[in-house]
């Protein structure tokens, strides 16, 4: 039975023979959506974070079988259909967060999922939820950008 799932609103399908393939590689290599990054393959660094049914998850740890039927959003699908950036992406630009930039898609996906659940995160919330590694150490600006994007912290 082929594995059907939805990626960025589009139905996609993979043969059952790929059931054990990590979702990360399916996204990057089969769908050629390169924004989701490989960093460690063991769920530590978070560079591969995508939304699975709205929750931030590390796609390197999720097999295609486990993603069967799921609705996946990658960084390429975060902006609106009209091309308008997500508020987290806007905040990232405003604060000028990225250095090497490699981890940033994962950081943004984690932040977007956090703010969807918690529109006014405290520093402690941010510390707890934003567990992605940024090798360049852009944490000060990541924190600022999460706050700048938080709908409950405006005004």
């Amino acid at each position: 039975m082929p594995i059907d799932l939805t990626v960025n609103g589009k139905p996609v399908s993979a043969p059952d023979s790929k059931a054990d393939m990590p979702l990360l590689w399916f996204i990057r290599e089969d769908l050629r959506l390169k924004g989701t990054k490989y960093g460690c393959g063991i769920g530590q660094c978070g560079s591969c974070t995508v939304h699975v049914n709205g929750r931030a998850m590390r796609s390197c740890l999720l097999s295609l079988e486990q993603a069967r039927g799921a609705s996946i959003t990658t960084i390429e699908g975060l902006a609106g259909k009209d091309g308008r950036l997500h508020p987290v992406q806007e905040a990232w630009l405003k604060i000028d967060v990225p250095q090497c930039g490699y981890c940033q898609a994962g950081q943004i996906m984690t932040a977007a999922a956090l703010l969807a659940r918690n529109p006014a995160p405290t520093d402690a919330d941010i510390d707890r939820e934003m567990t992605n590694i940024c090798r360049c150490g852009a944490y000060v600006r990541i924190r600022q950008a999460v706050k700048a994007a938080a709908p409950g912290l405006k005004g």
């Binding site: 393939m21 490989y38 460690c40 390429e76 940033q104 090798r135």
Partner: protein
């Protein structure tokens, strides 16, 4: 042709984008109008980075590689400012052209800009070239307008992509002038570089030109490239340095659907920085497949067994550190690097002597983007797609291994997902070229994180013993004795020149463990030991750590040094950084119990950085990093946004290194080869706030990428001491305190 004329010949090329004009400006290497060989049409340098379109918009390709250090933004700023371009009219290509030529000795070097990046030297190595290129282009545009208006070019000015007559006269866009202007010759004596007060782009805080591409997930990195027709390879590398292949199940790997070939890669030994000692590029078994997942599965199916019997099998990082302790604590003579005054006598006559030993383990680079390289070796030409700090090495490796002329190698340079020195090594190029040469098919090699860590070129481990003596409240004698995996202490840094009796010595290195440049190589360990010792002396003398340092820097003086990256070290500029960091931190304000401030500074790559860190340590010895304040004097601040970002990120990188980074090697094999076992700093461990002040005393621009890293370790150790009275002299610090 007049030898004073700048251009050897006019040059106009089709633009990069349709309808565009590429302003390709020949420039002599020196502004002075030095004679170039007659008839040498390629004798000058060329500015090939700017395309001005008739509608006055500009496309710029970056003259410099990018690994997160902002050079793809800063390089264009320099060029655009001298050219008086309107920054808002510029769109930036993702391309980073890798233009090579052979120099007089037959060596492959960069044509045009020095595209490579490392040693915090990128701005300095391109500063003159990019300014001259911009100023020359500006003059060509002005002269073209002058001819059209039949006035002297000297009465015209240019600003924001227009040439104009001052005083409200005519104006004309660069877009209208570019096609004809590109054909002009310019008299070198007419080229004038701007003074600092005339800069309109430099000195402004400008955001990263690729930021939008990065936050939308565009495929910018080498690992993102799908090269037409390329097979995917994953290499099962010897997990231990120097191990050889014993056996592997080729049939099992070939049985994985999609796997095409299994190819052995030989062990390779190379002379290597520093000291030209042999270092290893591991043997491996490459699994070549139609897709990456098949290659990864094929690698697992190999079940490769290794013969770990070479001399490298005895390498043990912990035993190495123990041996360093034995060396520095004994009386064996070492290599003396500097010896001022009479250290032994001065230590005997001092009022107080401290004898302390500081320790640092091997550090991994752990670039966020694991290494990767695409090669396409054809009959007599080749293409390499790679993010490399020194991209000419891709061409020279192809030439060395295949015999193909390096100038027939197209190097497609990609943004690097971190470099930190690791992406200056040739091993990942060499291996991919060897494989591509063997299989005669385009191939992409992707490293796993585990391999990336196991086959790193680590920052050396070191043990540093300092004996320092105080006399009348000042440092009178200083004896630095160090043993390390490889390399030598940064003995040109403070306190050299400030202490009358001063000796730095190191032991020769015997280790076979691979080491290489790591963002501010061996600088953090120097600053960790020196600034910790200064702190210990301060407290022993009952003085204030800031006041003690400010006193140490007196008299303010530029001391000459012999170092490739700088020729003076100025104690006044260092003192100003200490002062500024302390001011921002409100140094004199008493903190509640359990909260402490630590201060440390460092000079390197021509730049001065001081920082103050605030931490809390509770009764359970749990450390929390609170805030940091940093002051930097890197000469002229070209892009303050970039400098702030590097101060924030570099300081956190240094804190991470000091707290967590530690690679353990046993039997020649890395024991902690992925994040987790190799602990890395996350948001909750980083300072929530870092305030930065940029000091500008009118000097030329110096390095920014590396200097902020070095003082972090000592600032942390000193802050912990101030918070709880515990002195930690061994990195990783997280092994001595809870975080």
């Amino acid at each position: 042709m007049n030898a004073q004329q700048l251009n050897r010949r006019s040059f106009l090329k089709a633009g990069i984008s349709a309808g565009g004009l590429l302003l390709a400006i020949p420039l002599c290497p020196r502004l002075s109008g030095a004679r170039t060989p007659a008839g040498d049409s390629a004798g000058g340098q060329w500015c090939v980075y700017v395309t001005i379109r008739p509608d006055n918009t500009v496309e710029m390709v970056s003259p410099i590689m990018e690994m997160g250090q902002f050079m793809r933004t800063t390089g264009p700023m320099i060029l655009a400012d001298e050219m008086d371009l309107d920054w808002s009219l510029i769109s930036f290509s993702r391309r980073i052209p890798t233009l090579l030529k052979r120099d007089g000795k037959g060596e492959i070097v960069y044509d045009h800009a020095q595209i490579g990046t490392g040693g915090s030297n990128t701005v300095r190595s391109n500063w003159d070239y990019l300014r001259r290129a911009g100023a020359t282009a500006r003059r060509m545009l002005i002269e073209e307008a002058a001819e059209r208006w039949n006035v002297s070019p000297d009465v015209l000015d240019a600003r924001d992509s227009f040439v104009f007559e001052p005083g409200g006269g005519r104006r004309i866009s660069y877009g209208e002038l570019a096609e004809k202007a590109a054909l002009r010759r310019v008299d070198v004596s007419r080229i004038r570089l701007k003074g600092r007060s005339e800069y309109r782009i430099m000195g402004r805080s400008i955001g990263v030109i690729d930021a939008r591409d990065m936050v939308t997930g565009e495929p910018l990195y080498g690992i993102d490239v799908d090269y037409p027709g390329a097979l995917q390879a994953v290499i099962d590398r010897a997990p231990a340095l120097g191990a050889d292949i014993a056996s592997y199940d080729k049939a099992a790997a070939l049985a994985v659907p999609g796997v095409r070939q299994v190819v052995e890669i030989e062990r390779n030994i190379d002379d290597h920085w520093p000291e030209g000692r042999a270092q290893i590029v591991a043997a491996g078994v490459a699994v070549v497949a139609d897709n990456l997942w098949a290659a990864l599965k094929g690698k697992q199916a190999l079940k490769t067994q290794w013969k770990n019997t070479s001399e490298y099998a005895y390498e043990d990082s912990e035993e190495q550190i123990r041996s360093f302790h034995r060396l520095v604590s004994g009386n064996e003579p070492a290599i003396v690097l500097r010896d001022d005054g009479n250290v032994d006598e001065a230590l005997r006559s001092a009022d107080l002597v401290l004898d302390r030993t500081y320790e640092k383990p091997l550090w991994a680079h752990a670039c966020m983007e694991p290494l990767n390289c695409i090669v396409d070796i054809r009959e007599d030409s080749a293409t390499v797609v790679v993010g490399h700090q020194w991209p000419h090495r891709a061409a020279t490796e192809v030439e060395r291994i295949t015999g193909i002329d390096a100038l027939k190698v197209e190097v497609i340079s990609k943004r690097m997902g971190g470099g930190f020195g690791r992406r200056g090594e040739v091993d990942y190029l060499r291996e991919a070229v060897m494989l591509g040469h063997k299989i005669r098919r385009p191939v992409k090699v992707t490293w796993t994180r585990e391999n990336d860590t196991e086959h790193d070129f680590f920052d050396p481990a070191a043990v540093i013993r300092i004996r320092a003596g105080l006399k009348n409240g000042r440092i009178h004698a200083w004896h630095h004795r160090q043993a390390q995996t490889r390399g030598e202490p940064e003995h040109v840094c403070f306190p050299s020149g400030l202490v009358p009796h001063y000796r730095v010595e190191r032991f020769p290195s015997t280790s076979r463990i691979s080491v290489g440049p790591w963002r501010a190589p061996m600088q953090l360990q120097w600053a960790f030991a020196v600034e910790s010792m200064i702190d210990e002396l301060t407290h022993a003398a009952g003085q204030d750590p800031l006041a003690f340092r400010l006193e140490l820097m007196k008299p303010h003086k530029a001391h000459p040094i012999e170092h490739w990256s700088a020729d003076v070290i100025d104690s006044g500029r260092m003192a100003a950084c200490y002062q500024a960091a302390a001011e921002m931190a409100d140094w004199g304000r008493k903190r509640p119990p359990g909260v402490g401030l630590g201060i440390a500074g460092h000079f390197t790559f021509g730049t001065y950085v001081a920082c103050v860190l605030e931490v809390s340590v509770n009764e359970r010895e749990e450390l929390r990093i609170l805030n940091a304040w940093g002051a930097i004097d890197c000469g002229f601040p070209i892009n303050p946004n970039h400098i702030r970002a590097q101060m924030e990120g570099g300081f956190i990188d240094g804190l991470n290194a000091a707290l967590f980074n530690r690679v353990v090697i046993r039997n020649g094999q890395v024991q902690n080869n992925n994040f987790g076992a190799l602990r890395w700093m996350r948001m909750r461990e980083a300072p929530a706030r870092i305030e930065v002040r940029i000091l500008d005393h009118g000097h030329g621009p110096t390095g920014v990428g590396e200097p902020p890293v070095a003082p972090a370790g000592a600032a942390l150790a000193n802050a912990i001491y101030a918070a709880c009275g515990k002195r930690i002299r061994r990195m990783p610090i997280a092994e001595s305190i809870r975080i």
